[in-house]
């Protein structure tokens, strides 16, 4: 029996299970090749597919490809989704048909969740930037789908909602909660198996400095945390019994530190990106990505880049960083590199 979900959030599961037995009237259904992302429809996007083939990079951990990237220079600089690099041990990159196994992570921007990679390439074709990334809603957009060793497929959709900021909590955490009644940084509970516990923090400690900066309120601390990625070790100072102590605390992805129950919408969403919120501005698309097909360029029908696919948010929503903001991020990251 198929499982179905009601969409209004007002129906119980038992009822939904029983509604999948409805008879389907006998008009033949549309063959999968002819569906919106079917093989035969994708054939109409052959020009854009040729562009994707050149300007998207496939990112591997060993032999397994886990994301895409955007080729931004002839000598092998590539933009990727930063949080997807966490705990990858054997990075490799394929541009065109060539696989590069020497990969340097040059710089990262935790706010936008973008990292800059460098491989030793020469004469590869960088992405062509679109003049404007402000496409009207309903405009076709093209991105990476699945790929084989040498061929990238496209994954198509439209701009599906207003471009906007997507708020969220800090994506990385140290693993403590603070006393709920007052806005101080006095630790209430230290969560087990987190950076805070490993660094020896205890309930009652008061955090004074984070990453070298003084912090006094929760907001000021969260602001500083946003400058770091999960996996980084950050020096902190804290007060215990009137004494000032120092420690290095490792940041963890929020979902790993706190096991939160999945919402019903997440249950029906399958494979979404670990980090999917807290972006200063996004374009929204209805492209049916998986978490693995994120990271590559978002192209218009001219094959020009209007953004970078940054998160699979859920079944119905995918986010991209607009090209305008992405190019600013790239400039900053390049400065770090050179």
């Amino acid at each position: 029996m198929k499982r179905t979900f009601g969409l209004g959030g007002l129906v119980s599961m038992g009822m939904l299970l029983s509604c999948s037995q409805m008879l389907i009237w006998a008009q033949p259904s549309l063959p999968s090749d002819e569906r919106t992302n079917g093989k035969e429809v994708r054939a109409a996007f052959s020009e854009q597919c040729a562009a994707i083939q050149k300007c998207s990079a496939v990112i591997y951990d060993g032999w397994r490809n886990f994301n895409y990237g955007i080729v931004v220079s002839e000598d092998g600089y590539i933009l990727v989704k930063a949080s997807e690099l966490e705990q990858r041990t054997d990075l490799a990159v394929r541009i065109g048909e060539t696989k590069y196994t020497e990969v340097k992570v040059v710089a990262t921007d935790p706010h936008w969740d973008v990292a800059l990679l460098k491989v030793d390439a020469d004469g590869v074709s960088p992405v062509v930037w679109a003049e404007s990334s402000d496409l009207p809603q309903g405009s076709w957009v093209v991105a990476n789908g699945a790929s084989s060793r040498s061929l990238r497929r496209v994954n198509v959709g439209i701009i599906s909602a207003e471009s906007r900021e997507v708020k969220g909590r800090a994506p990385a955490v140290i693993g403590v909660t603070f006393k709920p009644d007052k806005d101080s940084l006095e630790i209430h509970v230290v969560s087990p198996d987190t950076g805070a516990e490993k660094a020896g923090l205890k309930a009652g400690d008061i955090i004074k400095k984070f990453g070298g900066d003084e912090v006094t309120t929760r907001d000021s601390l969260i602001d500083r945390i946003r400058d770091f990625m999960a996996g980084e070790k950050v020096p902190i100072e804290f007060e215990r019994d009137g004494e000032l102590l120092k420690a290095d605390v490792e940041l963890m992805p929020r979902d790993k530190a706190y096991k939160e129950r999945k919402s019903r919408n997440d249950q029906m969403s399958g494979d979404y990106s670990k980090r999917r919120d807290s972006f200063p501005r996004v374009l929204q698309t209805d492209i049916p990505f998986s978490a693995r097909t994120i990271g590559g360029p978002l192209l218009n029908l001219d094959g020009e880049c209007v953004g970078m696919n940054i998160a699979r948010a859920n079944r119905a929503e995918s986010f991209a960083i607009p090209a305008k903001e992405l190019r600013e991020v790239l400039k900053k990251l390049m400065k770090t590199a050179r």
């Binding site: 959030g9 939904l16 409805m22 309903g138 959709g157 909602a161 929503e317």
Partner: protein
């Protein structure tokens, strides 16, 4: 309750293909789009109708739940899914694209195929989608393979984001359900599915595990039951809504027999009688315009009401006769 006859539907599919061919997007009659020109034709049609479609698409809030609906008359008649309104005569809120909120009340629903209707309680004129299609028999032209777009408040209302549009094709067309690959999620329920002529063709209902499994209630189901829905009838026996059982309606009052009626001895806080302003000491004289003879009489008559039913209570306080109306709740 009889479902729409199979024969009628077959005939409908056959006739409308011919009758409204002139309005059909030409790409619909190709197996797949073949060129950039074809792709642009789809994009242009969608964008042409998007603003109007979006204006008539509303978020429906009831308790903790949230769904979508589409306004189909200037007076604020809204089509949605039965499981969004979950019952007849229920109070809910409707939120327009710009964030303006209105009170609304559910009308009828068909619990067998997930069709529901509600009414915005306001005298204002609302932007709406004309559901009277232009083809001969008053129904939109849709066939398997037709390009369609879905609107909905995915995951609930978000003013900065707006309602979310998705493009897809009709994958299956059945008697009481159509399938598309417009990918839906919770909160989209009750939202509209449009064809490329901007005609309303179906209302979102539910999804399966796979991305291509998105089910909608075709508009002909609404047409088949239109009058009953408008009158506020609860049609069928599930699975998309459960009929309230008689005896489940509760006012939140305790009474004792006195001369001329029933004196209130206790008012349960936060229950409808308390919210309606009934106080200890009030003497109830009639229920729904029928005199109340005794405590036993009241008890017997309450057994016939279900949660959500509306009652009119007449009572005297300080020698003055007053009346209040309210909806019963579950105990």
């Amino acid at each position: 309750m009889r479902l729409l006859g199979k024969l009628t539907v077959c005939m409908w599919i056959a006739t409308l293909a011919a009758s409204s061919a002139a309005e059909r997007l030409y790409v619909n009659d190709k197996k797949v789009p073949e060129s950039r020109e074809d792709l642009m034709a789809i994009q242009t049609s969608l964008q042409k109708h998007l603003a109007e479609a979006r204006q008539a698409t509303v978020c429906i809030k009831m308790g903790q739940g949230s769904g979508t609906g589409v306004i189909v008359s200037e007076t604020g008649l809204v089509l949605t899914a039965a499981h969004v309104i979950s019952g007849v005569q229920k109070d809910m809120k409707v939120i327009m694209e710009d964030g303006t909120e209105y009170e609304a009340k559910s009308l009828g629903l068909n619990s067998e195929n997930d069709a529901g209707m509600l009414k915005i309680l306001s005298d204002e004129k609302f932007p709406f989608i004309n559901y009277e299609a232009k083809s001969d028999d008053g129904r939109p032209a849709t066939r398997v393979g037709d390009w369609v777009f879905a609107l909905g408040h995915s995951g609930g209302f978000d003013k900065e984001r707006g309602s979310v549009v998705r493009l897809g094709r009709l994958i299956k067309v059945a008697e009481t359900t159509v399938h598309s690959d417009c990918v839906l999620i919770g909160g989209d329920s009750g939202g509209p599915l449009f064809d490329m002529s901007g005609e309303l063709v179906a209302i979102h209902s539910r999804v399966g595990r796979r991305l291509a499994q998105n089910m909608h209630v075709p508009l002909q189901v609404f047409h088949a039951y239109w009058e009953m829905l408008e009158k506020g009838e609860f049609i069928g026996d599930g699975p998309f809504a459960k009929k309230p059982k008689p005896g489940t309606g509760f006012m939140g009052l305790a009474v004792k027999d006195v001369d001329g009626g029933l004196e209130v001895t206790q008012v349960e806080p936060d229950y409808p009688a308390a919210d309606a302003g009934i106080e200890v000491g009030d003497v109830l004289t009639s229920l729904n315009a029928m005199p109340l003879k005794s405590k036993e009489d009241l008890r017997a008559r309450m057994k016939k009401f279900a949660e959500g039913d509306r009652v009119l209570l007449e009572f005297s306080r300080d020698g003055k006769v007053k009346s209040v109306g309210f909806n019963l709740v579950k105990r």
